[in-house]
Amino acid sequence: MTGLQRVNLALARLPTWPVYVVGLLPAFWAIWLGATGGLGVEPINALENRLGLLALQFLIAGLAVTPLRRWTGLNLIRFRRALGLVAMGHLTLHLAVWLLLDLRDWGLIWADILKRPYITVGMLAFALLLPLAATSSNRAIRRLGPQRWRRLHRLVYLAVPLGGLHFVMQSKGWQMEPLVYLAAILGLLALRFRSSRGRVAP
């Protein structure tokens, strides 16, 4: 048995619930920091940005699972659902901070969603991810059937780049960090499409 097989076997024995617990810690930590002055003098925006970035990081981690298995053999598939749901948790908090702490006014909120492209793009990404979160249970997979479930969950290939685009569009100037995130997302998608083409024509 190779080292990698041993690692995969060990991973297969691990429970997945710690991913939820540990994964949501950064969100609570950020909220705690914001409430106690640890995020600087403008905590609302800082918290908004931090939660959004964490959501994107977990989405990217989820997106990396399949290429990682294909290219290195490391099998993290069992943890992918937890990564996705933790990302969705951060994303929901990101949205909640924007709605409840930042804008707090339905007029402003609607105006922003309709008039401001980066918010439209961000909301679209969130809306695309909602059905995926809603169908993340085993029961939902059974009910939809694996074929339809998989097709539905391909929405992630659209939602995550939109999230990266939202990050690029909201910053003042062409800043490096958001571009790196977007490039990472596009890179992971490219790997996936390359490998699926590879399967069609062996």
Binding site: G34, A35, G40, V41, E42, P43, I44, N45, L101, D102, L103, R104, D105, L108, A111, D112, K115, R116, P117, Y118, M169, Q170, S171, K172, G173, W174, Q175, M176
Partner: protein, 269 residues
């Protein structure tokens, strides 16, 4: 004293003119020469050398040349000015500046009658200003005012904050403050003034003309393409402070609205 009163009158609605704390004003800054993060300037500006400092005044002036900051300060009178600062990003502060009127500096150099604009330039010194090593903007940072805006008694060159020398992250040793315009007009660490006949280029306008105009007057009725300018968040309110309405000309309309009589402020934003 008359001008002090003017600045006082400008603070109409003085009830909300409680200055932000020293920590707030010196830890939350936009000064891309040191990085794009709000805390980059306070973390990285310490290495900036601000003494000696000369200001080169040129273009359409009677006495062009390099003016030593010490010599300038010996000829002007420093006053306290408690001003609102409204960032184009929709946050705001109240800042107790010390400084002198830009008009006094222009008088020292002598403005020629043909001059219509003042162009400003920030120090370019990438070895001390790490943000200048990335090409996020075309360095050096440049700004500009119409001559009547520059000569307006509310327009000052600030040299201090809370009675102390201006910290580097706030634009030491000498920065412009134009309280009725978005913060990016108030160019920091100024090394050059040029009087011109034509409207000079300005950094953010050059970068994104659709988003940042030459005038950049605070105006709650003209939105930034990516966010509303109708409200702002006052720094220091914590998690639960609501946004407050943004005031036309940042609350200085009584003093400055006349400068723009007949101008379409939505077209020339």
């Amino acid at each position: 004293a008359g001008l002090g009163t003017l600045a006082g009158a400008a603070s109409a609605g003085a009830e909300d003119l409680t200055p932000n704390s020293w920590d707030e004003i010196t830890s939350y800054n936009n000064f891309y020469e040191f990085g794009t993060g709000k805390d980059d300037p306070s973390r990285k500006a310490g290495a900036l050398t601000t003494d000696p400092w000369t200001v080169e005044i040129g273009g359409l002036v009677e006495r062009p040349g390099r003016y030593d900051l010490g010599d300038i300060l010996a000829k002007v009178s420093i006053e306290d000015r408690l001003y609102r600062l409204r960032c184009v990003e929709a946050w705001s502060m109240v800042v107790p500046w010390q400084g002198f009127e830009l008009a006094d500096l222009l008088t020292i150099a002598g403005v020629q009658p043909s001059a219509k604009y003042v162009a400003f330039e920030t120090l370019y010194r990438p070895e001390e200003m790490p943000g200048q090593q990335s090409r996020i903007l075309d360095w050096p940072y440049v700004e500009g005012l119409r001559l009547d805006e520059a000569m307006h008694p509310l327009t000052i060159m600030a040299t201090g904050l809370y009675g102390k020398p201006l910290p580097n992250q706030n634009g030491a040793p000498l920065r412009l403050v134009v309280p009725w315009k978005y913060g990016f007009k108030s160019i920091k660490s100024v090394v050059r003034l040029t009087l011109t006949e034509k409207q000079p280029p300005t950094s953010w306008n050059r970068y994104a003309p659709r988003e940042y105009g030459f005038y950049a007057n605070v105006n709650p009725t003209v939105d930034h393409p990516r966010w509303s300018q109708a409200t702002e968040r006052r720094i220091g309110g914590g998690f639960f402070a609501p946004r407050v309405p943004t005031l036309m000309f940042n609350g200085y309309g009584e003093e400055v609205a006349g400068l723009y009589a007949g101008m379409d402020l939505a077209a020339r934003f």
